[in-house]
């Protein structure tokens, strides 16, 4: 015992005094930087693809980060709960941008193809399903929602994130032309973080 055992609680003590807005601000920096580079023509030869890919990746990274909050509390006693909502909303924000870039810059509003694409391409069907699952989660992320829904129902609804993050990671793996280590590592991370939850439930 000693330093290690008190490390977690001590961090948590510091965190408790911090406001959450700096997390939102910091979380928007990579997106802002990306959009700045897009508008100033610094995204290379195929800026639309770069933008689309970077936004998808940011969304997945923030989703995974939000799923790290509970394990950190359980295993390291680091309490970052107050930042979880910020991480989730940032992930959702990047997802919306990812979707909008696909709609307006990649497909360039060829409306006739958009529906067909989502139906015909399994990787898009899966990504879109993840997006749809996250809509009610994002819609009930405000303070009052827990109260008006009841904590249990709210918690159940928010478990949709587990499904969504897995679908999102599978979508990432599937859109590659060849197996890519990077995408498989993300899928592994998602599986680990979600799988953990199922083990906990079973051991309750």
């Amino acid at each position: 015992m000693g330093a290690a055992a008190t490390f977690g609680p001590r961090i948590s003590g510091v965190v408790r005094k911090l406001p959450t807005w700096p997390v939102y601000l910091a979380g928007m920096v990579p997106g802002g930087w990306l959009i700045w580079r897009a508008l100033t023509n610094q995204l290379g030869m195929d800026p639309v693809k770069t933008l689309e890919h970077e936004l998808g990746l940011l969304s997945l990274q923030f989703l995974l980060a939000s799923l790290c909050v509970t394990p950190l509390l359980r295993f390291a006693r680091i309490n970052l709960l107050k930042f979880r909502k910020a991480l989730g909303l940032l992930a959702f924000g990047y997802l919306v941008l990812h979707f909008l870039v696909w709609l307006f810059l990649d497909l360039q509003m060829r409306w006739s193809t958009i529906g067909a694409e989502i139906v015909k391409r399994p990787y898009l069907t899966i990504g879109f399903a993840a997006f749809v699952l996250l809509l009610p989660v994002a819609a009930t992320s405000w303070q009052g929602a827990v109260k008006s829904m009841g904590a249990l129902a709210w918690q159940r609804l928010h478990r949709l994130v587990y499904v969504a993050v897995l679908l999102g990671a599978v979508h990432f793996v599937m859109q590659e032309k060849v197996w890519s280590l990077e995408s498989l590592l993300y899928l592994a991370a998602a599986t680990l973080l979600v799988g953990m939850r199922f083990l906990w439930v079973r051991s309750w």
């Binding site: 897009a38 023509n41 290379g44 030869m45 195929d46 800026p47 639309v48 693809k49 933008l51 810059l105 990649d106 497909l107 360039q108 060829r110 193809t113 067909a116 694409e117 015909k120 391409r121 399994p122 990787y123 599937m174 859109q175 032309k177 060849v178 197996w179 890519s180």
Partner: protein
């Protein structure tokens, strides 16, 4: 005798496009310079991409899977001297130095559209020569129905071949009539400069009416064979990539539409254009596939 119908002279500022269109209309889009009939739209849009665009946005998985990898990682490849093995059903098989193989075949400029199977495109001013000239030189024997090509495998300078992401060496093939077609060239240069490593130095194939992966780079072997060879991408995923790989807006890749394409360098907005049948070369090559089901033979 086929004359290249697309030369530097065909690249004109926007202001004179209209003029040219009227001339073409007057000609009835018929034979220009005694060559093959030319689609009017083949002329209108052919403004070559810049040297930087052509040489920094590449697929060459031997040097890495991201588009910028080839330019960054291929500079240590030494392509002089270079040996090309010619074998199979040929009169003069052997290991040729590149200089001997090309011999006195003159190079000319060909400005072609380049359409990647990933649904992006560029226009590239190649320097090269018709493959049929090379094949006639080595002497194609009766019984040869196909030409098979292989890319070099150089583990010392190719980071990518250490991983089994594809079945190395990279292989491609053409039916003999496709290989003999005057649009099919071996390219050794771009913009009158030697072709850079990332674009397939010292010599690569260019088949402008097919998806880019057919245009195999950095060739070390040319074989005349009787049977249809299996190309690398077909081997990797036969349901997604076929042997013919003709650009066809009506036959989608299972994971994305081929009906349209993003033009590299066109910015954030308005970069998507309709894909043309046989990449705009239908008038010249459609007859090669008469009676074939292009949905089955994708």
């Amino acid at each position: 005798m086929f004359k290249p119908d697309l030369t530097r002279d065909d690249v004109t500022p926007e202001s004179v496009w209209l003029n040219r269109r009227q001339i073409i209309a007057a000609l009835g889009a018929g034979s220009i310079a005694g060559g093959l009939p030319l689609a009017a739209n083949a002329l209108e849009e052919l403004e070559p991409h810049t040297w930087e665009q052509i040489t920094t946005y590449n697929n060459f998985y031997e040097f890495g899977t991201s588009k910028s990898d080839p330019a960054e990682n291929s500079q240590d490849m030494v392509t002089d001297p270079w040996t090309v093995k010619v074998d199979g059903l040929v009169d003069n098989p052997g290991e040729y130095s590149l200089a001997d193989l090309i011999g006195d075949i003159p190079t000319e400029e060909r400005i072609y559209r380049f359409r990647c199977v990933e649904a992006w495109s560029m226009v590239i001013p190649w320097n090269g020569f018709e493959l049929n000239k090379l094949l006639n030189k080595v002497g194609v024997q009766d019984g040869a129905g196909y030409v098979a090509f292989e890319t070099a495998v150089l583990p010392d300078v190719m980071e990518g071949v250490k991983f089994p992401i594809l079945d190395w060496p990279y292989k491609e093939g053409l039916r003999l009539d496709e290989a003999m077609h005057p649009l099919t060239i071996m390219a050794t240069g771009i913009y009158d400069k030697p072709i850079p490593n990332q674009n397939g130095a010292p010599m690569r194939l260019v088949v402008p009416w097919k998806y880019g992966f057919k245009s195999i780079k950095t060739i070390v072997r040319i074989s005349l064979v009787a049977e249809q060879p299996v190309n690398t991408w077909q081997h990797s995923a036969a349901n997604e990539y076929g042997f013919f790989a003709n650009v066809n807006p009506e036959v989608d890749h299972p994971r994305w539409s081929q009906a349209s394409e993003r033009v590299i360098g066109a910015g954030l907005f308005g970069s998507r254009i309709d894909t043309l049948m046989f990449n705009g070369y239908a008038d010249q090559v459609a007859s090669l596939y008469e009676g074939m089901d292009l949905r089955k033979n994708f």
